[in-house]
């Protein structure tokens, strides 16, 4: 039982990463009907930006000009990195996707893949092959809870991601911009006719998704401090699969499916040899998709990565 609960805690933590990233994929799909294949690498960029912001703030603190407590540094790091990464996301939209608005969607998919490669390479060029280590902003503390060991990091990660999802939901449901996004997801063609600027909404969507990915990147960095330029490939693509599992364009679906993927992975790794983790996770997802082609929360789309 404790073993089970221990796994639940771990699954919630992994699910948080996947869910936050998957939201970005889903929002973009909802609005523009395309998969932003560069999004995994935005997560990587966000994590690195977080690294620099955190290191900078820690350094600033050390100089003694302003002394900041570590919890404040963590909060500031998350906020500043989210903002900076959202600019990266908007830049990607402006440069890579906007010129292709009328092109076949497959072309946009290729552009996304290529932007991803460029981001990885730029990272390698700028930082070299050295692995950077995320500064420890949260002194690790382990609580023993009925035999289940829970670290304060895990609590923080799950809490922050749930908070962000709640805020996103508020934004999408209550604000004018959120409403425009939903309208766009509902009917792509009509919205521009109603005086809602498509470009602004698209940029906003990319920005929001990227901000969430940045948050995921920092949370990931606090849990697993060693970063590498290809972290977006391994984690990001799984989150993409989660977004599909949740149902293309469904925000709730992406969040839920992110956690489901976390659970599938942690539990399959606890039952089978850990090398089978990906095999089992993807096979389960494939099976679910065979029986629920449009994902858990998705609506039927007849659209296609069209020529």
């Amino acid at each position: 039982m404790t073993y089970f609960l221990q796994n639940v805690v771990n699954a919630l933590q992994w699910g948080s990463f996947y869910a936050l990233i998957a939201l970005g994929y889903s929002m973009v799909y909802g609005v523009l009907l395309l998969f932003n294949f560069a999004h995994g690498d935005v997560f990587m960029v966000g994590s690195y930006i977080g690294f620099f912001v955190a290191t900078g703030l820690v350094g600033l603190s050390a100089t003694g000009i302003i002394t900041l407590p570590y919890w404040l540094i963590l909060v500031l790091t998350i906020l500043i990195s989210m903002i900076l990464t959202s600019f990266v996301g908007m830049l990607i939209e402006r440069v890579g996707y906007r010129p292709l608005r009328d092109a076949p969607r497959a072309s946009a998919a290729i552009t996304g893949l290529m932007i991803g490669i460029i981001l990885e390479t730029l990272n390698l060029i700028a930082l070299g092959a050295e692995r950077y280590k995320f500064p420890e902003l949260l002194q690790s503390q382990t609580y023993d809870f009925m035999g289940v060991s829970i670290t304060n990091k895990k609590i923080m990660i799950v809490f922050v991601s749930l908070l962000l999802m709640y805020l996103l939901n508020l934004f999408v449901m209550k604000t004018k911009w959120g409403m425009a996004m939903r309208a766009m997801a509902y009917d792509f063609a009509v919205v521009p006719l109603m005086g809602i600027p498509l470009n602004t909404i698209a940029a906003l969507t990319f920005g929001l998704g990227s901000a969430l990915a940045a948050a995921a990147g920092i949370l990931f960095g606090t849990a697993y401090p060693v970063m590498d330029p290809y972290m977006g490939v391994t984690i990001g693509w799984k989150a993409f699969v989660a977004a599909i599992l949740g149902g293309r364009g469904s925000i709730v679906g992406a969040a839920v499916a992110g956690f489901i993927l976390g659970f599938i992975e942690i539990f399959s790794a606890s039952i089978f040899p850990s090398t089978y983790r990906d095999l089992i996770a993807y096979s389960i997802i494939l099976l679910i998709l065979v029986f629920r082609p449009h994902g858990l929360f998705g609506q039927e789309h007849t659209s296609k990565l069209r020529l």
Partner: protein, 426 residues
Amino acid sequence: MTAQTIQESKKGRRFRLWWQSVWSRFDDVPLLGWLVGALVAVGLEYAVGRPFAQLLGMRKSPALFGFLFILKEPWLIPSAIVYVAVMYILPIAAVAKVTAAVANKTAAAMLRISTLLSVAIHLVLLYAVLHIWTDVLPYRLIVVKLTLIAIVITLSLNVVNGYMGEFSCSHPGFISLGAYGASVVTILLFDDPGPWLFPLALIVGGIVAAIGALLVAIPSFRTRGDYLAIISLAFTFIIKSFMENMEFVGGPRGLGGQPNWASLPVVFVVTIIAIWVINNFVRSILGKALNAVRDNEAAADAMTVNTRRTKMTAFLFSAFWAGVAGGLLAHVLAFINPASFGLQKLAEVLAMVYFGGLNSVVGSIVGAVSLNLLGEMLRPLEIWKWIVIPLMLILMMIYRPTGLVAFKEFDIVALLQPKKTTKGDE
């Protein structure tokens, strides 16, 4: 397609006119003439290339037209230019021009006797050119082999992503299945395998890949939409993870020691067969049904096209050739591991298809050859290569979203035709 109006500078226009006037002098050269010219050029290089290169201050003949050292030893650039001009451009141009009249007559005569004969002779010439060119440096040999294999891979993916208009991400998985399937036959199954086994091994690789394709196709083609994209992507991940867990093929460490049977003639012949069969298929009505399904499935259905069978056949056919290419690849490299058939491979094959041009056999050949050669030529840029190539692709997608030579039919007979001379005589 967005028509891009480019304001040409005066200088640019003059250059273009000059270039056209130069090029128009070669209007009357048939393919046969070019091939003969190339043969003479590579023969010349074979005979005197090395001493000539040393005379120009280089250690040996530049492997890929001098691109490989332009950054490291920029002072050799003039030498490389002279070398390329004297060894390739001048002999090809001279021979092509001088033999144009004879070549035209010969080409016409050959076509009159039989198309097959003409095709065969052209292919023999092409092979001879490649053979002699690669004989100079072993590095060239591996580049040419990998490029030929890339043609097969690109072409097979174009059947699904171009002709059928789906977005399949499962090609790395198919190549992997083919590579492993063929390797198991040649390494593990027999004690003392002979080269006769190789065709069989390649076919086994293709069939294994096609069986894998069945697993993707059955759920994917039940509903419409971008369903295949997702399932095929998951499939690639699953195959990679599966191979990592199969200890008898080396698990994550990979499988090495494939016999050295994928020689240039073998790879060349397989590539030619692949081009021929795929081109036959996409030009037949059964193959064009793919376009009909892509452009309007309901209309295809109403016009008696069995849409489901069409899609399944094409998908399995595409996977088969990817598998065959995988088998070749394994034996050219003599080593495979699961990690090399992941997302990197996916980006690579997609890039070749979309760069070269959708729905076009010529486009796929162009895409595979140009990106492969470019990849090798840009080697001196080291890591910057992975900025330059993706940027090129992004620009291509913005200005020509369907690729360089999209929606063109590949008419072999037209290619082999003698060219009419500018003076208008026969």
